[in-house]
Amino acid sequence: MNGLLQLRNAQAVRADSVPRLSVEEFREAVICAVEGGARLSAMFGRPAEGNRLLVTAVLANDPDGTLQACSTVVDGGYDSITPDCPQAHWFEREIAEQWGVRPQGHPWLKPVRFQPPCRPAAGQPPAAERPVIGVTDFFRVEGHEIHEVAVGPVHAGVIEPGHFRFQCFGENVLHLEISLGYQHRGVERAMIGGPTARSSHYMETLAGDTTIGHATAYCQLLEALSGSHVPARAEVLRGVALELERVANHVGDLGALAGDVGFLPTLSYCGRIRGDVLNLTAMLCGNRFGRGMVRPGGVGFDMDSARVEELLKRLAVIAKDTAISANLLWDTPSVQARFEGAGTVSRELAEQIGLVGPAARACGLERDIQNHHPSGIYRFAHIPLSGWDSGDVFARAYVRWLEIQRSLAFVSEQLRSLPEDVVMASPSSPAGNRFAVSMVEGWRGEICHVAVTDDRGRLAAYKVADPSFHNWFGLACALRNQPISDFPLCNKSFNLSYCGHDL
């Protein structure tokens, strides 16, 4: 089909089976696929022979549950895909920044992370020419009563660094530009040559609140590359940990949303309940954020029946408390007055810019890796997709509440029927010259990891696309023509990761 390689989530193929198209064919293929309803899940470059760049695109076709991949070799400049396919917008900026190629005709070619170029052959630019983080030509609205507000990178709360530049007309935001990169650590580069003993830890700390999500995506990828099999019991425990992570974060978000509108009861209750859920994860593996739980080949810790009993008992209490606390939000008119109509993203816009996760589902889009590209336990146990269609803060909050209920039901159902098995298969190392894509629906949305191995089975390229990478631009769009005083609320309703974006 149109010259693209078809594959499935967590399936490895020969690296050379990814077709190399000409730049023209590549553009055409990506644009046609996206027009036909596919999503651009990842796009990344890696060095090719002759100091050129091999650009690979991974497209997700949700309705039939397949992925597509294709690549092209570019040299210096090429015609940008973005004007015809806005989803490529951030990816092309990233590639241009990392590899020094120029997407001609890109409407917004600015750095995304201000990182120094990766290509060693091109040589490092002198210190004076290296990008300085946060220094770029921000878009400016000119006019008599226009004023500019700069927020961050140091914020008043204990949150991660990011810079926000608002162009305001009175209290109204005309334009918001988000400038990130303060958390860039070079995780993708550190993975090359691996996997090593450190790789799992890099993945777990990629975005601290998505430890299980990223670790699962990484392990799934490694297992695909090495063709190893994960015991059924480990698959279930991974699912349980992933859903507990989702519940903890969603509950925390509902509380924080309440806090941003000054509604104390839900803020206080949800803050406590989030801790209780994190403690359940600690019952699984001894760490509240799930560090050390998911490991290549299975999970690091098993559950005994006494602990399962205790966990189920606590889960029932949590379900009851969360229901009381969340329903306070929907039953309080003053809260609904703040949530409804704030930061609306239309379905068309969400589709165009490629939103993922709860933010996309709140716009009426059906995007859920667990449903469309299931892997692990989700191939056998389906969680219904939770959606809403108003696209505002209320929708994003309500989708979270729906997901909390379904995840809690899933966890208790799975724990009651834990298959008897070992939890760790004997490890095997990745095969040589393989290409694989691994996707997981983390609590924030689609987590996509792509890896290519060299002929000795070491990682030659590793690409991580955190959901935040797709969604930050959605936040900027949601703020158009909104009062600036609603920014914290809109921001919280997306709750994106800075370090997940910056890698």
Partner: protein
């Protein structure tokens, strides 16, 4: 003499406790232990022992802001009687002076904020003057209604002249004036639903964002000034709602103090059960307060 001393000193001593009561109420309703009742006193003590940091872009206006603000509010507190006795400072028309002293304090807070040149503080200043332009008429018209009702132009006379008989004879007018005063009280003291005193989000603040750059003793002045301001506005509201002029002085004072802390509990309850208004809706609330005051005045003027 004792009455005057009590009238001067009690607000100065007890004002920070009001905030403690509000915070304790909120904590209890949220199932938390909460900060100590005397937290604001500790904070003031701590801040007074710190140095202040001044930005190079600021001028004397920035340093004068907190001092003028506190001085104006302390003077205002001398106009308000406590326990329906004679205030230390009273004359016909002193309620106008009260409104303008509060206005002066606000004016200096606003220009000190603008003096920093920060985008946040500019936004806060703009919001503060927009909302107070609506809160002030509601406050003055409400006082005017009370003044007409008691045929007196001094706060001492007005609050002393309100009795249970006035309430029995003109409950609707008084209730509407009191409702307007309660809204003004919440707005002027930066409480929910108008402002959120607990938020750390600069973009949503009104009052707090204007004082972000003040530190040390200056900030102590500002915190203390706002607590006394809360006392001043609260004392007017409480004594209008709880007229006790038939009882003896001690009883009146006790009723007044009990009323003040009941008001603090009420504010805590309001903050615990509702969210903040969207900022573009705040003017509607304040216009509602103006409408209440106007209706009160119209009803009072139409009385035979």
């Amino acid at each position: 003499m004792t009455q005057i001393l009590v009238n001067i000193l009690l607000p100065l001593i007890l004002a920070p406790l009001l905030l403690g009561v509000i915070n304790r109420t909120k904590a209890v309703l949220a199932g938390r232990t909460g900060q100590p009742l005397l937290q604001l006193y500790f904070d003031l003590w701590k801040l007074l022992h710190k140095g202040a940091v001044y930005s190079r872009t600021t001028s004397w206006v920035f340093r004068a802001g907190p001092m003028v603000g506190l001085a104006a509010i302390l003077t205002a507190s001398a106009i308000v009687p406590l326990g329906e006795t004679s205030a230390p400072l009273h004359f016909a028309g002193d309620l106008i002076l009260l409104a303008y002293l509060l206005g002066l304090a606000r004016f200096f807070t606003v220009i000190a904020a603008l003096d920093t040149g920060s985008a946040f503080e500019g936004m806060g200043a703009s919001r503060e003057v927009t909302f107070s332009a609506l809160a002030e008429p509601a406050f003055l018209l409400g006082l005017a209604a009370l003044a007409r009702l008691t045929d007196n132009l001094s706060l001492t006379g007005i609050l002393g002249g309100l009795t249970w008989h006035t309430w029995a004879a003109s409950a609707p007018e008084l209730a509407m004036a009191a409702a307007a005063m309660l809204i003004v009280f919440l707005a002027e003291n930066a409480r929910i639903p108008v402002d959120d005193p607990n938020t750390h989000l600069e973009l949503t603040m009104i009052h707090e964002v204007m004082v972000l750059d003040h530190s040390g003793p200056d900030f102590a002045f500002i915190l203390y000034g706002s607590s006394v301001k809360m006392w001043v506005l609260g004392a007017i509201l409480v004594q209008a709602v709880l007229p006790a002029s038939s009882a003896g002085y001690e009883a009146r004072l006790a009723i007044c103090l009990a009323g003040m802390f009941a008001l603090a509990v009420l504010v805590g309850v309001i903050e615990s059960v509702m969210a903040r208004l969207r900022m573009i809706r705040v003017p509607q609330l304040l216009v509602a307060a103006i409408a209440f005051s106007l209706l009160a005045i119209i009803l009072v003027l139409r009385r035979p």
